[in-house]
Symmetry: C2
DNA sequence: TTGTACGCGTTATCAT
DNA sequence: ATGATAACGCGTACAA
C-alpha cells in the first residue's frame, strides 16, 4: 500500500469518498460506526487527508507566516512562542522567515506569500523606509497582516507595539536621577520605527531635566558586530559619556564587551540601561538594567488579532492597535 | 481583478494556460517574448501560481519541517539559522514546530507531517524513550528525516551530532585539573540521548583520575525552572560539591542564580562548566566556561543531508552520521 | 513554439 | 446516512 488517498481508501472499505471525507471533518452527517471504522483503518495505515488537496478546495492553509528580523534574540524567540501558542490552539502551523534586517528578503518573502501559501502574516518589519507597495498587494488578496514591535506607519494593518516613548523617557530619566550628565543614545537606525520613537523619549527626558541635547551623543550603529564594537569603543574613548541608553540589546552587549576590555567600571564610570528581553539579564556582569518588553504577550496579542481578522474574513475588520507596557528593571548596571 | 489564476491570465493575454505555466517554470520550450510578456503582466498584477495547486500536481511542497524542543535558546536558534540558510538557497521554506520537550506534541506533529505537508523533516527529538513507530511511518511515505543533536538511536535516519562523550570527558577533566574533588553532574534526563552520553564522559573522566563515582552527585533536574532552583539550592547546601558540570545550559543559569543568592563565590568555592551555545557567555558574572557546540554548522549539515536525500528521492540513500566537534571555552567560572 | 485535455486529492452540492 | 460528481488551480503528455 504505497500511496493511500481517500479514493483508494474508499475502495478498500467499500464506501464512497464523500463518506470518508466526512469522517475526517467531524461531520455529523455520518453514522458513528462507519466513522469509527474509517478512522480506525486510516490510523492503522497512517493515512491523513492530503493537506494541499484540501487547501486547493477550500482555500484555507491553516498556516501562519511569521516574519522576523532575527531568531537568536530572546525578544523574537519569545514572541514566536506566543504566536505559536495561539496558533497551536487553533490548529494552525507556522511558516517562519528570517529577514536578517535585509529589506529585499522581506519583500521577496511577502511577495511569495501572495499566492495563498499562508492564511495570514505576522511580522516585525525590517524597518527600511522604502516603498511599501508590496505590502498593499496582500490586502488585495485579502490576506490579513499584523505588525508587532517594528511597524510601518503608512501601512494600514493591525499592530501590537509597546509604550516605547514612555519607556524610553523613563529609562533616560532614571539615568539622570542616578547622576548621569552625558547620556549617549545607541541606535541602529534613528530615523525609523522604534529607533525614532525611543529616541524621542530620550530627547524629551533630557529636556525635562534641563540637559542640552547633544547630537554627538546619538550613536548610529550598524548590523555588524565588529563595526559596532569599534564605534562604541571610540565613543567611550573620545566622547566619554557617563551613561548609555541602548535602544537595542545587541548594542548593550557590545558596550559591555568594550567596557570589559577597556576596564571601564560599570556602574561607577558608566551606567547602562538597555531595551532587552534577555531572560538572564540578572546574571550578566554587572546585572543589566533593562527595559523589558512583554515579548510573549505581544506574540499572543498579535496572533489573536490575526485570528480575529481571519475569522471575520470578507467582512470589514477595523484595524486595531494594541499598545502593551514595557517594564523597567533597574539593576546594577545603572547603579541599582 | 479579484481572483487571478493562470486561466484568467490566459484569457486576458490570449494564450493558453500551458504557456503561462511554462513561463513560470523556466521552461525552455517557450518564446522569450511571450514569456516576458506573461511575467511582466503577472508582476504588474501581483500574480503568482498557487502553491497548493502546484504541490497537488507534483508532490513537491518546497517546505521543510523543523522540529525543536525550544526556540528561546541560542543553540536551537542558531541551528535554525543554519537550516534556513541552506533552505533559502534551495528555494525552500520552513515550517517550524516547538515541542517544549513534550513527547505527545512531537508525535502529533510528526503524524501531521505524514500527509505530505513538508518534503522533509529536520528534528531534535524530545528525547523520551518511548515507542518510536510514528517515526517509521514517515519512511513508508518516503519523507526523509534528519536528526540533529538529540537523536533516537533506534531510528534509521541520517544524523548530525557532536562529540558529546569526548567533550564531556574533556570538560570534566578540566574541572579535575583545576582541583575539583566533588564534581556534580547536572542533567535533565540521565537515561536518554545526550544526557546519557555526556554522563558517560563525566564518569570516565572521574575514573581516569581515580575519583570515585558518587551517585549523589548526579543531579536529575526537571523542565521547571523553579523546581530546578530548589533542587540545585539543596544540592549546594547539603552535598556541597566543589565543581559543577552541567549538561544543559539552563541548569547552569539556575546554578548561577542560586550562587548569587547564597553568596557562593565562583570560581573560588565552586567551579562551573556547562554545555551552552550562548553567545554572550563571556559577559556573564562570572564569564561562563562552556562546551560550545557548532550549532549553526550543525544546522547547515543537517539541512545539507536532507537535501541530499531529497534530491535522490526514489533511490536508496545511505544514512550518514556526521559528528562535529564541540569546543571547550575555559573562562572564569572554572578558574580560567 | 503553442494549445488541448486530463488528473493530482479533496470537499461541497445535490441526489438518493 | 450515503453516494455521484463537479470544481479547486496547476503542470504535463500529447498533439499540432
Amino acid at each position: 500500500m504505497d500511496h493511500i488517498t481517500i479514493k483508494t481508501l474508499a475502495k478498500k472499505l467499500g464506501i464512497s469518498t464523500s463518506t470518508i471525507s466526512r469522517a475526517f471533518n467531524g461531520s455529523t452527517d455520518i453514522n458513528k460506526d462507519t466513522r469509527d471504522r474509517i478512522l480506525d483503518y486510516a490510523k492503522k495505515h497512517n493515512f491523513l487527508p492530503n493537506h494541499y488537496a484540501s487547501n486547493l478546495r477550500d482555500k484555507k492553509s491553516k498556516t501562519l507566516a511569521v516574519i522576523v528580523p532575527e531568531i537568536v534574540n530572546d525578544f523574537f524567540a519569545q514572541a514566536i512562542n506566543g504566536i505559536e501558542e495561539v496558533a497551536r490552539k487553533k490548529g494552525f502551523y507556522i511558516l517562519l522567515y528570517r529577514t536578517d534586517d535585509v529589506f529585499e528578503k522581506e519583500v521577496s518573502f511577502v511577495n511569495y506569500l501572495n499566492n495563498g501559501k499562508a492564511d495570514g502574516i505576522i511580522m516585525s518589519v525590517s524597518g527600511e523606509a522604502n516603498d511599501h507597495n508590496y505590502m498593499r498587494a496582500l490586502a488585495q488578496k485579502n490576506i490579513p497582516v499584523v505588525f508587532f514591535d517594528r511597524v510601518y506607519e503608512d501601512i494600514d494593518v493591525s499592530k501590537v507595539t509597546t509604550n516605547d516613548y514612555e519607556a524610553s523617557f523613563e529609562a533616560t530619566e532614571h539615568l539622570i536621577h542616578t547622576g548621569c550628565k552625558r547620556i549617549a543614545y545607541l541606535v541602529v537606525n534613528k530615523s525609523i520605527s522604534i529607533g525614532k520613537v525611543r529616541m524621542q523619549g530620550y530627547v524629551d527626558a533630557l529636556e525635562k531635566h534641563g540637559i542640552a541635547f547633544d547630537d554627538d551623543l546619538v550613536i548610529d550603529c550598524s548590523q555588524d558586530e565588529k563595526i559596532n564594537y569599534s564605534i562604541i569603543k571610540q565613543v567611550l574613548e573620545d566622547i566619554k559619556p557617563d551613561g548609555i541608553f541602548s535602544s537595542v540589546e545587541r548594542l548593550a552587549f557590545a558596550t559591555l564587551s568594550v567596557c570589559n576590555d577597556m576596564n571601564i567600571a560599570i556602574p561607577n564610570d558608566l551606567k547602562i540601561v538597555s531595551f532587552s528581553s534577555l531572560q538572564i539579564a540578572p546574571l550578566l556582569n554587572p546585572p543589566l538594567s533593562t527595559v523589558t518588553q512583554p515579548a510573549y504577550e505581544m506574540g499572543i496579542k498579535a496572533a489573536t488579532l490575526l485570528f480575529d481578522a481571519l475569522e471575520k474574513k470578507g467582512q470589514v475588520v477595523p484595524r486595531k492597535h494594541i499598545v502593551l507596557k514595557s517594564k523597567l528593571f533597574i539593576r546594577k548596571s545603572s547603579g541599582g
